[in-house]
């Protein structure tokens, strides 16, 4: 089973651009040059309640809309949930909102995937520990069939099972991280699908002033393994998305909001509103040092 890999030039790669998945927020899409890239691993990190899972859910809908509207293919999404936070009703709401949106925009368009179709094409797995996650990933090839056309794999989250390994040294953790992420990387590259990994934040107290600050969890090894690192946070009572690491995008940040319909842009008028800017956000602050 020796597959000969033909060497490719940069021009080939440029021409065979695999495309992006939109986030439904124009600002974030512009910042990311079109959205989440296919074929590579993207990392999302942020504090609890910063909208990581909601963004993932939005991506589920957006993949389906893209493949339902532009082509007649289906784009299947694999959602691997390790935390148990997924609630199917939320996806249904977002799917309904997206469907309405497209119906209003283009009235004569017929081949829109219906809500039922969207929900049927999101395959959900629940893994509770690392062994289950690895077992799931080993078998993932079984459903990567051409008719399914898997376009997005979401792992929400990697940090939870890894951090829950009891009595482990750093070496074991790193082994697992490298193994899981490289499996995902391989699948993403082989099947030209996007892989999104959700990560936690941890408190660090290494800075010179002994000041605590938040950093993405899972250590430096993991930091090198994802191609794009996107941090979600609260800033001045608004949700902010910031590029932490990327080979091709400038380190930008932008604001977005989460509504009942999903991820959306903030209205420009609201952005200008001085009152909301002045009141510094006390929400979502997490105590670090003293308990």
């Amino acid at each position: 089973m020796a597959v000969v890999r033909r060497s490719r030039t940069a021009m080939d790669i440029l021409k065979s651009d695999t495309g992006c998945i939109s986030t439904y927020s124009k600002n974030i899409d512009d910042m990311l040059n079109g959205g989440i890239r296919m074929g590579v691993v993207t990392e999302l990190c942020g504090n609890p309640g910063s909208g990581k899972s909601n963004l993932c859910t939005q991506l589920c809908v957006s993949v389906q809309m893209k493949y339902g509207v532009t082509t007649n293919e289906t784009g299947t999404v694999i959602y691997i949930d390790t935390e148990g936070s997924f609630v199917p009703i939320r996806l249904q709401n977002m799917a309904m909102a997206a469907e309405n949106h497209y119906k209003n925009e283009n009235e004569n368009l017929t081949n829109i995937s219906s809500v039922e179709e969207i929900l049927k094409n999101v395959i959900y797995f629940r893994c509770i520990n690392v062994a289950e996650l690895i077992a799931c990933l080993i078998q993932l090839k079984q459903i990567m069939t051409p008719e399914r056309n898997v376009k997005l794999i979401i792992l929400d989250s990697l940090a939870h099972p890894i951090r829950s390994i009891i009595n482990s040294d750093h070496l074991t953790r790193h082994k697992h991280i490298v193994r899981i992420v490289s499996m995902l990387q391989k699948i993403a590259a082989d099947y030209k699908c996007a892989a999104v990994i959700v990560n936690h934040m941890i408190a660090k107290v290494e800075s010179p002033n002994n000041e605590a600050y938040c950093a993405p969890a899972l250590g430096d090894t993991f930091g090198h393994m994802s191609q794009l690192r996107l941090q979600l946070s609260w800033k001045m009572n608004k949700r902010e998305a910031r590029v932490l690491k990327s080979p091709h995008i400038a380190e930008l940040s932008t604001y977005f909001q989460i509504t009942d319909d999903g991820i959306r842009d903030i209205d420009e008028t609201e952005l200008m509103d001085q009152n909301s800017c002045n009141s510094a956000s006390q929400e979502n602050m997490h105590p670090i040092a003293i308990v």
């Binding site: 148990g84 936070s85 999101v122 893994c127 951090r163 929400e283 997490h286």
Partner: protein
């Protein structure tokens, strides 16, 4: 109970070699956690044999086709099941998107005296009522770490009496019977040390749950009290590790038995410096205790707080208060007042962050207010 190498069928050569190295009692979980390269090195098997073995092992350990489910199927399945239970008041249910969700960890936090324990007591009764309305039985485990058990017992008697009356009994005897039924379904445990809680979550509760599968709610009131004890107070690393371990145990319980866990958390004051023009002012905010590690464990965090507002003319309240109006400089006596507190959702995957409502506490329990 866990699956071992004995339980799977592999090609003879592969199976023999695996058994020779690891023994027949070696669990599949450990094999999966091993590095594939290490497997090759120790068993001296070929690469594709190991691949095949891993595929077989993972299929036995994690039945792939049975575990996969489309979201459409999930919604269909949820339609017939109870996924949330009520808090006992339609206004509060509305704020929380239907109530407390099963299979998730919900955290209540707030300063002392804003009704955390009261709400917990009410939840332990309401989960029974929600399930009874659908013809099922629900039991509750109430783990208490803070207050005297007598106080909780007394309050439980109070609220359960009113709840039993609300279920329209035929006569006094029937009401007593209903009330007794509420009591029979609540297991109360007192824990004073975090190691005991660890033991309870890992060993005792699974044992209880295997005998009583109808347990639907575990209340831990409060988690913070255990971790503010002195021997773990300043050992941040140990504390974070223990919390993560407890959280993992809770997640496993939630998932395996489809039950809800409600944790009570205390608040801590947080000092932060805000640049306010030229001068630096110190500001204090109340934030939930236990830190960032714990924040990632909970699925839904609910904030309870006191407000200054009061509301008049409630038939359930006998309290009155003298109010001094600054503008007119008159005093007036308000009768039958209730003090309003506020409930808001800090974060939750499926509930909008803006959701909030006011509530008050009276003899009959905790109720939401329309204002």
């Amino acid at each position: 109970m866990s699956l071992t190498l004995n339980d799977i069928d592999l090609p003879l050569v592969v199976e023999e070699k695996l058994r020779r190295v690891y023994g027949a009692k070696y669990s599949l979980k450990n094999v999966l956690e091993l590095d594939p390269d290490e497997l090759i090195r120790t068993t001296r098997l070929k690469n594709q044999d190991i691949d095949l073995a891993l595929q077989c092992i993972s299929n036995t350990f994690y039945p792939f086709t049975r575990r996969q489910m489309s979201v459409w199927q999930m919604i269909e399945k949820e339609r017939d099941l109870i996924t949330t239970f009520s808090t006992g008041c339609p206004i509060m249910d509305n704020t929380l998107g239907g109530g407390i969700r099963l299979g998730q960890i919900t955290e209540l936090y707030g300063e002392s005296g804003c009704g955390k324990t009261q709400l917990c007591i009410q939840l332990s009764l309401e989960v029974q009522r929600t399930f009874r309305a659908r013809g099922q039985e629900a039991k509750v485990v109430y783990i208490n770490t803070e207050s005297h058990i007598e106080k909780i017992d007394k309050r439980l008697k109070h609220i359960s009496y009113y709840r039993a009356k609300a279920d329209k009994p035929f006569n006094i005897a029937d009401a007593r019977c209903l009330q007794q039924h509420f009591f029979d379904n609540i297991y109360i445990d007192i824990i004073r040390h975090y190691r005991h809680l660890e033991m309870t979550l890992v060993d005792r509760l699974p044992l209880l749950l295997s005998r009583e599968p109808s347990i639907r709610l575990i209340i831990i009131d409060s988690l913070a009290a255990l971790f503010r004890s002195e021997d773990i107070l300043f050992e941040h690393h140990t504390k974070a590790n223990t919390l993560q371990y407890l959280g993992f145990a809770m997640h496993t319980l939630c998932h395996r038995y489809n039950l809800a866990i409600v944790c009570v958390n205390q608040v801590q004051t947080q000092f932060s410096q805000i640049y306010d023009g030229s001068l630096v002012s110190q500001s204090m905010t109340l934030a939930p205790a236990l830190g960032l590690t714990w924040a990632f464990i909970v699925h839904c965090r609910i904030k309870l707080s006191k407000t200054e507002n009061i509301e008049e003319h409630h038939s359930d309240s006998q309290q009155s208060q003298i109010v001094f109006d600054e503008h007119k400089s008159t005093t007036s006596i308000k009768t039958n007042v209730v003090h309003l507190r506020s409930l808001s959702v800090d974060y939750c995957y499926h509930i909008p962050k803006l959701n909030r409502c006011n509530y008050f506490i009276v003899d009959k329990g905790v109720f939401g207010s329309r204002n």
